[in-house]
């Protein structure tokens, strides 16, 4: 099914162009100011042109793939897939992107951080373009998360405001978590089918659908798609994302990013769709989202928030139609997706222009702007037309198809039909409120004296709005180049779209008329309807938005409680825990496996000198335990250590003995120094009830090590390594001292790591001890005797 792509290099360049823009934007803005937008818009335009070259092949029903190995050891490829679905999305992303760059240049003209803003915008554009063109699962996921990050940066662009920061974080948490679900879902799909590329997945549909893990994969993927595409109840972040500057809302939160979830569902429809679960879950969530979004849209008075809620409603409609999956439903979803991207992008930009020029976005404080802003009015009017589904706008085709898809079905479909009619009517009313209401009626005094914005501002919305009509008038071309290939890709089989602006008498047209009539009625009674919707919502008081805050607060409370529990800050508690674990490990392993060592046999004829050394070691140990103060104990530990070193020496390990001597010496010195720093009382006065458990623990650990050593030495010695080193240390590494040769040559890289650790430890100790201001007190806090030590021996003032 998939054909090799021609001109791979150029297409890869198209993927790269937005990221080039992200790098160049700050420089360009520094050089040309707001006019830099004209130059920068050439980049997405270039990508648009490059991608358009594939229209011919794709309109013939081809799916093109290309790529190269990315991480060969994991079998991950960097591969792209261009078919009707991804190409339409890619053209929307780059085409609208170019217009948005222009619009942003006008909207944020003179803003000190315009360069940064455009950079983020390009970053998003690159991520979104990569997302829709990705063929490999991993690439899809990486770009998916990159859009979340870019969205976070853009929503939080105005980072001095708390609301913007909260909205940014909320969007990141919700969509980021969804991204992780998606990753899990994709991995499950990969495990079921054994393929890791979307193009290869096409042939695996029945394998996937018949797998017992199908439902798990579906739910995980839906988790990703529903969070990204703002389905109820994960929609909370979308209205809050309106904190972002308007170009962001017009681009990310209407035309592109929020459609990523729908894209994913459409992409998976041929392989995961047409199952009872799919046809139940998607229309259910979509329907609820449609109704809730449309109702809340009417309840708002802020133009942008109204649009945000209608976007949510539109996404619900798209999910609903994708879920139904019938031929008409797929066509309707495709048509509506294209129409929505055009009219919603336009309306957002219109709302932005009104805000920019009139100084308010409150629909109740706007009116009669049509005379002052004729071009904006034209753009808004055309977009509203499309949103209402009236000819000659493209939205008309989409709505006709929607009603075709929803008539003549069973009870479930009929319920959906009613939901869609109400939702469409509500959205139509909001379309009129945003696109037409501010421009008609008696002029209302606005905070700023309204006048038409500069070309940078109105060019984008006007072009989009006109395009929304043009592609409807030239429907035959549109279908051939765009909607038919896209619908075919979504359906997984050839699906020619033929609908045109000519009226088709029948039930769908009647339903359209009903919808428009309802919409106009709602528009006229908007104020009363708004009150009717808001009062029960105010009465309820709780919503998913509050729920999000409560969830975050709950997570933080849990985390800090857990941290307090696990990290009480008492060194003795940590050490006890560590030693208990060690003892358990050493003793439980042989106990559970039943592998205790045999009792050791003491040789009868130990030379007296060796016996003497053992005696010294034993004396050292007894002295440690009985020592009246800590310093004596430390020195006594040194005695024991030296004795062990002598034993090493006697048994032919001079290097080991040598090292042991030095380590023991330095340990005593450093431990003694630490003791003086810790302000411990000179001797140990733990009560017996603390001493006994500690002693028992120490005994257990010692016993455990004895067991392990006895067991290890009872296993026959495997001389393979010793033989190897003895044989080759001279010939390969030019050294007779095997130990040293191992350290510096055979296992030199290990040593390099170890000395890096020594260095890091030195740095860490320096940093810890140099902490000023009450550091002595803090160190003393770890000491169980500290309270009394502080009382009996007040801290001496010490210089730096």
């Amino acid at each position: 099914m998939a054909d090799a792509l021609t001109g791979t290099g150029l297409t890869m360049l198209a993927l790269l162009l937005p990221f080039v823009g992200a790098l160049l934007a700050p420089l360009a803005v520094r050089a040309f100011g707001g006019a830099a937008a004209w130059v920068l818009a050439l980049l997405p335009l270039g990508a648009f042109a490059i991608l358009s070259r594939h229209l011919g092949a794709v309109s013939e029903g081809q799916a093109l793939t290309a790529g190269f190995d990315w991480i060969p050891s994991l079998g991950v490829r960097f591969s792209i897939l261009i078919d009707g679905l991804s190409l339409t999305f890619a053209l929307l992303v780059t085409g609208i992107g170019a217009l948005i760059v222009l619009y942003a240049g006008g909207y944020l003209k003179g803003h000190p951080h315009l360069g940064r803003f455009l950079s983020f915008l390009f970053l998003f554009m690159g991520a979104m373009l990569g997302l829709v063109l990705s063929d490999s699962f991993l690439m899809l996921f990486v770009y998916w998360e990159l859009t979340s990050i870019a969205s976070f940066l853009l929503i939080g662009f105005d980072h001095t405001r708390t609301a913007a920061r909260r909205a940014a974080l909320q969007a990141l948490v919700v969509t980021g978590a969804g991204g992780l679900l998606l990753l899990a879902g994709l991995l499950v799909i990969q495990a079921i089918t054994g393929v890791s590329e979307l193009s290869a997945l096409a042939a695996m549909g029945s394998v996937l659908r018949d797998s017992p893990l199908y439902l798990a994969a579906l739910l995980l993927v839906l988790g990703g798609a529903f969070t990204k595409s703002a389905q109820f109840p994960f929609h909370v972040w979308l209205p809050n994302a309106m904190e972002a500057p308007t170009p962001v809302s017009a681009y990310l939160h209407s035309a592109t990013m929020v459609k990523a979830g729908v894209y994913l569902l459409m992409r998976l429809n041929p392989v995961m769709g047409q199952t009872p679960e799919w046809q139940m879950l998607l229309p259910l969530f979509g329907g609820v989202t449609l109704l809730a979004g449309a109702l809340m849209a009417l309840a708002e008075t802020d133009l942008k928030r109204m649009l945000a809620y209608t976007t949510m409603a539109s996404l619900g409609l798209l999910v609903l139609l994708t879920g139904l999956g019938t031929p008409h439903a797929v066509e309707a979803a495709v048509l509506y997706l294209v129409a929505h991207s055009l009219f919603k992008g336009t309306l957002f930009m219109v709302a932005g222009i009104i805000d920019h020029e009139a100084g308010t976005r409150d629909v109740t404080r706007l009116g009669g702007l049509g005379r002052a802003m004729p071009i904006t009015f034209v753009a808004g009017g055309l977009a509203a037309l499309s949103m209402m589904g009236l000819p000659p706008a493209f939205g008309f085709l989409a709505k006709e198809k929607t009603y075709y898809a929803l008539t003549g079905g069973g009870l479930f479909v009929t319920i959906l039909l009613v939901v869609v009619i109400i939702g469409n009517a509500l959205m139509g009313a909001v379309g009129l409120l945003v696109g037409v209401r501010p421009f008609i009626g008696a002029p209302v005094k606005t905070p700023k004296h309204a006048h038409e914005g500069p070309p940078l501002l109105w060019l984008g919305p006007l072009l989009l709005a006109v395009k929304g009509v043009a592609i409807a008038i030239a429907a035959a071309v549109t279908h051939q180049m765009m909607t038919t290939p896209m619908a075919s890709a979504v359906a997984g089989e050839a699906r020619p779209v033929t609908i045109s602006l000519l009226p088709h008498l029948g039930l769908p047209l009647l339903l359209s008329l009903v919808t428009v009539a309802l919409a106009i009625a709602m528009f006229l009674t908007a104020t009363r309807l708004r009150a009717a919707i808001t009062s029960p919502m105010d009465a309820l008081g709780w919503g998913p938005d509050r729920g999000f805050d409560q969830m975050i607060a709950g997570v933080l409370r849990f985390a800090s409680a857990l941290t307090r529990r696990l990290q009480p800050g008492r060194l003795d508690a940590y050490m006890t825990a560590g030693f208990v674990l060690l003892a358990a490990l050493l003793l439980l392993t042989p106990a559970l496996n039943g592998e205790w060592p045999n009792a050791p046999v003491f040789p009868a004829d130990i030379p007296w000198d060796e016996l003497a050394i053992f005696a010294i070691a034993l004396c050292g140990l007894i002295a440690v335990v009985l020592a009246p103060n800590r310093l004596t104990a430390i020195v006594s530990l040194g005695i024991q250590g030296f004795a062990v070193a002598v034993i090493f020496l006697l048994y032919g390990a001079p290097d080991l003995a040598f090292t042991q001597f030095m380590i023991e010496t330095l340990s005593v010195v450093i431990l003694a120094l630490v003791m003086t720093r810790l302000d411990l009382s000179p001797s140990d006065h733990r009560p017996l009830r603390q001493l006994l458990p500690d002693a028992a623990l120490a005994g257990l650990v010692g016993f455990g090590f004895t067991i392990v050593l006895l067991k290890v030495t009872s296993v026959p010695f495997d001389p393979a390594l010793s033989t190897f080193f003895a044989q080759f240390s001279k010939t390969i590494a030019h050294g007779a001292n095997i130990v040293n040769v191992i350290i510096v040559d055979f296992r030199g890289t290990d040593t390099l790591g170890e000395i890096a650790v020594v260095m890091a430890t030195g740095l860490a100790v320096l940093a810890l001890l140099r902490l000023r201001g009450g550091s002595e007190r803090r160190l003393a806090d770890n000491d169980p005797d500290a309270a009394e030590a502080v009382e009996t021996a007040p801290l001496q003032g010490r210089g730096v």
Partner: protein, 139 residues
């Protein structure tokens, strides 16, 4: 601790031990010794000097900050590994040259450089810990 006898003997002891540490370092490839042990001996030498004359005197005596010494050591060891890379063999492969100076053949190798690096890191790292602790202790 700073008795007259100790203070008189300490510089000689330190000098001898430092000399010995270098000896141990260099002979390490064939006899017991090496960078790690040599470094530990050198640190002990410094510790003796520090206990006798104080940390400030010790810091003056070694001129560089101990962590600078450790850093130089780490760089030297890494370089020793990288030389092999430049010569087209895997990282950390030992390379040997045996030039003769006035009739005496001296085997030189990246391995020796590596071991010197270990020696310096141990002096610097452990020395820094000891000095930082000793700076405010009254041992």
């Amino acid at each position: 601790m700073s008795t007259l006898i100790f203070r008189t003997v300490a510089p000689f002891l330190t000098a001898l031990m430092l000399l010995f540490s270098v000896f141990v370092l260099l002979r390490g490839h064939n006899e017991p010794g090496g960078g790690f042990i040599g470094g530990l001996i050198a640190v002990s030498a410094l510790a003796i000097y520090g206990i006798a004359f104080g940390v400030a005197a010790m810091r003056r005596a070694i001129v560089l900050h101990p962590l600078t010494i450790a850093g130089i050591g780490l760089v030297a060891s890494t370089l020793a590994g990288l030389v092999s890379l430049a010569a087209g063999v895997p990282f950390m492969t030992g390379l040997w040259i045996e030039p003769s100076f006035a009739g005496v053949t001296v085997p030189l190798s990246t391995v020796t450089l590596f071991d010197i690096g270990v020696y310096l890191v141990v002096i610097g790292g452990i020395g820094s810990i000891a000095m930082t602790l000793e700076e405010e202790g009254d041992l």
